[in-house]
């Protein structure tokens, strides 16, 4: 892939296809080429986390030691809850608003129950690091979402969450909050109260009222994030394996990128089975003398499995090439073991970058 001039690289794809490893290897490759890179990982495997020095607590990138690079490699693991709290702290106009939101029962109990919160905080963190002059390039590993939409919709969710109309409806002088506090009497309101119970309604009203102080900040932030995702310096790298579901997911995500006018920077296909150089039947005949019929037959069986999977993979690659219009996707062969150290990443990166 050619990622020259890109400042933000978002690595997307369905779960279990090697996204985190690809993001880390890309970051290392760019750092080896002299850039100051920060990689934000979501949920790295323990050994990779160790290799990147991520076991130290903290919600900021830390310099990765133990490898000679022309540039710098920094890595962090996203802590969704902390990022959310930090965002509130930063956007709160005053100490009281800050405290009201962070201590609100609804916020504390329910912000973790929101399935979109990881996507939401990932882009919030990305935006913050983007404005940090210590880094030339940011590489973002995306959450293991089953639904790519969650990620692309995150900025809209940020605004939708506190959409002006919703908040007005709730906070206007005759809005919900006032009616809750004044024990309103409207028909719709009494029906609503019947369905939710007065406690929950009161808590929600307090929650929205305390958040209202953050509205302008949230809106500006969301607009900034949205602009960043569509910026010419931003690009999306799709990662997949040749298996059916991840391929469908990659095609779907690509369609969404196009529809949203967001830039697609390259395709990485991991875990590719290479076709064996030798045909299974021929191998069996050739090896029968040296290994005996029984063992030669087993070797041929193993070879036949690889043949089938190599054919499946070749078809998937062809389909992705055709439908995504990618001439030369990066093909990473099925490795015998997970990549879990800096040496493994260093060996992987030349495949990804040229």
């Amino acid at each position: 892939m050619n990622l020259a001039g890109k400042r933000v690289i978002i690595v997307a794809g369905s779960g279990g296809v090697g996204k985190t490893t690809t993001a880390a290897a890309l970051a290392l490759g760019l750092a080896a080429r002299g850039q100051r890179v920060a990689v934000v990982t979501i949920d790295p495997a323990r050994r990779l986390a160790t290799a990147l020095g991520l076991e130290e607590l903290g919600n900021e990138p830390r310099r990765v030691e133990g490898i000679e690079l022309d540039g710098e490699l920094h890595a962090m693991q996203l802590d969704a809850k902390r990022t959310f709290d930090e965002l509130i702290e930063r956007l709160a106009p005053d100490e009281r608003t800050r405290r009201d939101v962070l201590q609100n029962r609804i916020y504390r109990e329910l912000s973790g129950a929101m399935t979109g919160s990881q996507e939401f905080t990932a882009v919030a963190k990305l935006y913050e690091l983007y404005r940090d002059e210590r880094y030339d390039v940011l590489v973002l590993d995306t959450p293991p979402s089953r639904n790519a939409l969650d990620f692309l919709d995150a900025p809209d969710r940020l605004t939708g969450f506190l959409d002006g109309r919703a908040v007005q409806a709730i906070l206007a002088p005759t809005g919900l909050a006032a009616r809750v506090m004044g024990h309103g009497t409207g028909v719709a309101f009494s029906v609503l109260r019947r369905i939710t119970g007065i406690d929950l309604l009161e808590d929600l009203a307090v929650f929205f009222r305390s958040l209202s102080g953050l509205l302008d900040g949230f809106r500006r932030r969301a607009a900034g994030v949205k602009a960043l995702l569509g910026d010419p310096g931003t690009t999306f790298v799709l990662v997949t394996s040749p298996e059916r579901e991840p391929v469908e997911e990659a095609l779907f995500f690509h369609g969404r990128l196009q529809a949203a006018g967001m830039p697609f920077g390259g395709l990485v296909i991991n875990r590719v089975h290479r076709a064996p150089a030798q045909d299974a039947a021929a191998a069996r005949r050739e090896l029968a003398g040296a290994l005996g019929e029984r063992l030669a037959a087993k070797v041929a069986d193993a070879l036949r499995d690889v043949e089938v999977l190599a054919r499946r993979d070749a078809e998937a690659i062809e389909r992705l090439r055709r439908e995504l219009g990618v001439e030369d996707p990066v093909l990473v062969p099925l490795l015998e073991d997970d990549v879990h150290d800096l040496r493994g990443l260093a060996l992987l990166q030349p495949h990804l970058l040229r």
């Binding site: 279990g16 109990e109 329910l110 973790g112 399935t115 919703a166 409806a169 939710t196 406690d199 929600l204």
Partner: protein
């Protein structure tokens, strides 16, 4: 193991990419073959289960439909679930009033965690013997193809979070009832799907811990998917290693090393979770053969 299929609700989760959907569909197939009226439900606007069962659901799959004899499918939609809930709880003019109310729509959309609560609430409703949905027949078993680990736990713990946040009132009562079902081991079984790979095993252990902490619940079964065949004995592998480095022999040795590493991870998984995992083998096929997987799984399920 107490019979997995004797529960009313089976929630299938695990790391992304390990084959949750395939396993959920295969469990559904086993149950329906045994004559149980079985629902396989999925969430978050997906129709993967239908795809795995080779059934097209062009309309989005939000209505319950029978895809194979005794095997039903639905893709749970939170908005529909909300309308259903309102119709069930309120006289119809009042329900209509709220459904049409702009403020209510905005409030529902902006309340954190409500979509998740509504999703689980619908799954709970599907598993009731006395269904609230007018005219709906009960199912003997409901299987949920849940989101991957982190999201899955968030969805499952939404009722408890709501019960905690709402204290009292109808929502709190409803949320408590749902949580009670989810955390009752006689009613609900939690199944983790994994592959015998380091990352997937580690995530399964994290899932087990998260379920304990956030749901007060234990895993009922672990399914290990895509195990490579263990073809070569150590002696045979040794003989192969002594051969000239020829292509076919190299491939066989690589397969042997992968299988050996998988055994080690499978051992780690069974020791750490305390579950003797249900095992499914990798299929060297262009696409999964669900019938064959159901055969393999059925042999291991009492």
């Amino acid at each position: 193991m107490e019979s997995l299929l004797s529960h009313r609700l089976i929630v299938v989760t695990g790391k992304g990419g390990v084959g949750k959907t395939t396993v959920a569909a295969a469990i559904g197939l086993v149950a329906s073959r045994r004559g149980r009226r079985t629902m396989v439900a999925e969430v978050a606007r997906r129709t993967d289960v239908a795809g795995a069962l080779d059934a097209a659901r062009p309309e989005g799959g939000e209505q319950e439909a029978e895809l194979a004899p005794g095997l039903f499918h639905v893709s749970v939609d939170p908005e529909l679930a909300l309308e259903e809930y309102l119709r069930d709880q309120l006289p119809s003019p009042a329900a209509a009033l709220l459904t049409r109310s702009r403020v209510f729509g905005l409030l529902a959309a902006a309340t954190p965690g409500l979509r998740e609560l509504l999703t689980v609430g619908k799954l709970w409703e599907l598993a009731q013997l006395d269904r609230r949905t007018p005219g709906a027949e009960p199912y003997d078993l409901v299987i949920v193809d849940a989101p991957a680990t982190g999201h899955g736990v968030a969805v499952l713990s939404a009722p408890r979070a709501f019960a905690g946040a709402a204290h009292s009132g109808p929502v709190a009562r409803q949320a408590r009832a749902i949580h009670a079902t989810l955390s009752d081991p006689a009613l609900t079984a939690l199944v983790a799907v994994a592959r015998a790979e380091e990352l997937a095993v580690t995530e399964t252990l994290a899932l087990q811990a998260a379920l304990r902490e956030r749901l007060d619940a234990e895993l009922d079964a672990v399914v290990v998917n895509a195990l490579e065949p263990d073809r070569f004995t150590p002696a045979e592998a040794h003989r192969l290693a002594g051969q000239p480095a020829q292509g076919a022999v190299q491939q066989a040795l690589a397969a042997h090393r992968r299988a050996t590493r998988q055994r080690a991870q499978l051992g780690r998984l069974t020791r750490a979770t305390g579950h003797r995992a249900l095992r499914l083998h990798a299929q060297a096929l262009p696409a999964p053969d669900l019938e064959a997987l159901a055969d393999e799984l059925g042999e291991q399920l009492p």
